[in-house]
């Protein structure tokens, strides 16, 4: 159903719902003593990481392994990439080796889309530049739906450096597609150009937005942005746009706090706010595996009919591999 997973913008509400529904079924596998189904047996997934990432790579690796796919990890360090082999040659090498899916992380926006021109494999974007991080957006939607029961009609505030955030682009588009209202909050210097075309509200006043927020989504503030004068200091940022216990208290009953990680505790979020009961931060990480399993399954499974059954609740214990 999805040729490649490059951008949240490419996904319809129905497609997103299908991914989340499938993830719900797959999440149950993690509760089994043997956390593995044979769905993608014989398929090869390559994690092609041109940029350092621990959590996303491990999450994708676990997702693929729980579906019994063969996983190879290709990181830019210690590979032929550091010898000057370019994106295209790397792609052609993987193509020649016959991998079925490439999970790619790259510092350059658009690199995953460029890959699709050179390979037959399915390409999953695991984060490209400032552009997109669709599986992060999907796991966030999954977590919101799981916790609050729905997404439609919720009021979400996305706070911080939206300008340089691939997560923000995916999350905001996903929330809008699923019918939430989104307000982008932060200093004007960290808003993306022509944010007026994004279909969101914009505010610079976090305290005014908090009482009308069901989902508070905090973005990582990159320290190096300070040197570029997007804002004067992390102390000033924390004072105006950082979330602490006092600000959490302004949220309505039942509101949740999210962060894609890794956090800068003390800048965009204080330690006690990050660890508050309504913080979804650990749950987001947990759900990442099920959502990535769902994406891999929907993109790689289903062909030749062998993966139609993902092993629903307890129905196929005979297919579980030892």
């Amino acid at each position: 159903m999805i040729p490649h997973l490059l951008s949240m913008q490419d996904l319809s509400a129905d497609q997103i719902t299908a991914i989340l529904d499938t993830a719900e079924t797959l999440k149950e596998i993690a509760l089994r003593p043997i956390k593995k189904v044979p769905t993608l047996r014989g398929r090869t997934v390559c994690n092609l990481f041109f940029e350092d990432s621990t959590r996303t790579r491990i999450s994708f690796e676990l997702a693929a392994k729980r579906l019994s796919a063969d996983v190879i990890n290709f990181s830019a360090k210690g590979s032929s990439v550091s010898k000057g082999e370019g994106l295209k040659d790397t792609a052609l090498t993987l193509q020649a080796m016959g991998v079925d899916a490439i999970v790619v992380r790259h510092a350059a926006s658009g690199a995953p889309q460029q890959l699709t021109r050179w390979v037959d494999a399915k390409v999953l974007n695991a984060g490209d530049g400032w552009h997109q991080h669709p599986t992060q957006g999907l796991l966030d939607l999954f977590t919101i739906r799981e916790r609050l029961g729905h997404i439609d009609g919720l009021r979400a505030a996305v706070v911080g450096d939206v300008f340089h955030s691939r997560v923000a682009r995916s999350v905001v588009q996903g929330l809008l597609t699923m019918g939430a209202e989104v307000t982008i909050v932060g200093p004007p210097t960290l808003l993306p150009p022509r944010v007026d075309t994004w279909g969101t509200a914009v505010s610079h006043d976090l305290d005014a937005v908090l009482p009308k927020t069901d989902v508070l989504y905090l973005l990582r503030v990159q320290q190096e942005r300070m040197g570029e004068q997007f804002f004067p200091s992390s102390r000033e940022y924390a004072r105006i746009w950082g979330v602490d216990r006092d600000r959490l208290a302004r949220l309505p009953e039942g509101a949740v706090v999210m962060h894609p990680g890794p956090m800068n505790r003390g800048v965009e979020v204080t330690a006690d706010a990050a660890d508050a009961p309504n913080s979804m931060i650990q749950l987001q990480v947990t759900n990442g595996i099920a959502v990535r399993m769902s994406c891999l399954y929907l993109m790689l499974g289903g062909e030749d009919g062998r993966a139609a059954d993902v092993g629903g609740r307890g129905s196929n214990s005979e297919r579980v591999e030892a």
């Binding site: 370019g86 658009g110 460029q114 530049g129 552009h131 682009r169 150009p193 075309t197």
Partner: protein, 435 residues
């Protein structure tokens, strides 16, 4: 007589104000008669247009330094195939054309190749570093009329002001790459990647704001004003820059301007492919900017169409967007793109005569290039282009004469095909083949 006569062509000569079917007789290097009887050999040009050879104020021939992308030989061959009889290569070679030696080298290579006349542009500052003025006098002695650090804006207002003043010694022209670099980042991977706007926002690419061009154009116009200095604005790409130049011209400034074919045809939406063939500096802009550049050409604010022909080998262009270099080929498509997009436009942007003026007469005059750009009259050097205005063709990047293939018009059907090009009475390109 020993010469030949081109018969039956529609002679469109913007410099001489002529647009009529007439015979043109050539003997040796010069035109000897227009509108007369056949003299010497008859060369049938029925149904074709005969115009002054095209003149390109802004090309990159890459030699010395990047002969993998282009050489003087291959670049001038592309020029001849595109109908050009004169081109002005930029100074950003390696070594930089900031002294007489490189001027001499490029000129000699061009003479040896013999495909078209080459008028090197000298650097404004040594090494394009924007700090110390290059030895302009030595380069002027070798025929240089224009100085530019193209690709590298002269950041210091003081250096720019001095350059404008110093060049007055020879009434030479200063052409500053119009980019306020503090607004576009350092360049390279971390710098601006595309036009800043709705699309850069979605695509997650660092924006090249139109203000960066306009701030620099405004600064340079102010610095040039009242000093009698000659300023040339290269590759105008934004509506605001067109307005600034229009206003300055109305006040009598000695300013000329050029626009590149891609800036009056292509828009930033193409960047959504992340195909670096569309990466160029200044970047592809919005529909409104394209419209403004067209208006600027129509009302004469923009004097010339210049290609900014910028070859890059495939291995350079087939990289991640942020890593790929900026630049597009232009020499072999400029005439056809102009005919297709400006003359055929509804409503028409330029008449055929004005279009040819922007491609030949105006650039030649704006840079003091004698013998090119017409008029086509007895005694004038026979620098001419013959093209078939009705032939439609599809651009094939692999069929171009350039060493590189980075044309954004690959696969596009265009109207108007160069048949022959003559440089001082000699065919450099004849019946579709390099002579």
């Amino acid at each position: 007589m020993s010469g030949f006569t081109l018969t039956g062509a529609r002679v469109v000569d913007p410099a001489g104000g002529r647009d009529e079917v007439a015979n043109v007789s050539i003997d040796g290097e010069i035109v000897v008669a227009v509108g007369g009887q056949v003299q010497g050999t008859r060369v049938d040009a029925d149904g074709l247009v005969l115009a002054p050879g095209l003149v390109d104020l802004h090309v990159h021939l890459r030699e010395p330094g990047r002969e993998d992308a282009e050489t003087v030989e291959s670049g001038t061959a592309a020029a001849a195939a595109g109908g050009f009889t004169a081109v002005c290569p930029m100074a950003n070679t390696d070594p930089v054309c900031d002294h007489a030696g490189v001027v001499e080298q490029v000129s000699r290579l061009a003479r040896e190749a013999g495909h078209c006349d080459v008028y090197p542009i000298g650097a404004i500052t040594r090494g394009l570093r924007g700090e110390e003025l290059a030895e302009m006098g030595a380069m002027v002695a070798h025929g240089v009329r224009c100085f530019s650090d193209d690709g590298m804006p002269v950041r210091s207002a003081q250096v720019m002001r001095r350059a404008l003043e110093y060049a007055r010694t020879w009434d030479a022209i200063i052409c500053n790459h119009a980019e306020e670099a503090t607004l576009t980042g350092a360049g390279g991977t971390d710098g601006a990647q595309m036009n800043e706007g709705e699309l850069s926002s979605l695509l997650g690419l660092a924006g090249w704001p139109h203000e960066a061009e306009e701030v620099m154009v405004a600064r340079d116009l102010i610095l040039a004003r009242g000093r009698g200095a000659r300023l040339h604005v290269p590759h105008v790409s934004t509506a605001g820059a067109v307005d600034l130049i229009r206003d300055a011209k109305a006040r009598g400034a000695r300013v000329t301007a050029e626009a590149a074919p891609h800036h009056f045809t292509l828009v930033d939406e193409l960047v959504a492919t992340y195909d670096p063939v569309y990466k160029v500096n200044p970047p592809l802009r919005t529909k409104e900017d394209v419209e403004a550049v067209r208006c600027g050409l129509a009302d004469g604010t923009i004097d010339a169409i210049a290609t900014d022909h910028a070859p890059h080998p495939p291995e350079q262009k087939e990289q991640e967007w942020a890593h790929a270099p900026c630049g597009m080929l232009g020499l072999e498509t400029a005439l056809a793109v102009t005919l297709t997009e400006l003359v055929d436009a509804q409503p028409r942007v330029l008449t055929l005569s004005k279009a040819l003026g922007a491609l030949s007469t105006n650039p030649a005059r704006s840079r003091d290039i004698g013998g090119h750009g017409g008029p086509i009259q007895p005694g004038a050097p026979a620098n001419l282009v013959l093209f078939d205005p009705s032939q439609r063709w599809t651009v094939d990047a692999r069929a171009l004469h350039s060493r590189s293939r980075n044309t954004p018009f690959a696969g596009t059907q265009l109207r108007g095909r160069v048949i022959s090009t003559l440089l001082r009475g000699r065919f450099t390109f004849r019946d579709g083949v390099l002579a």
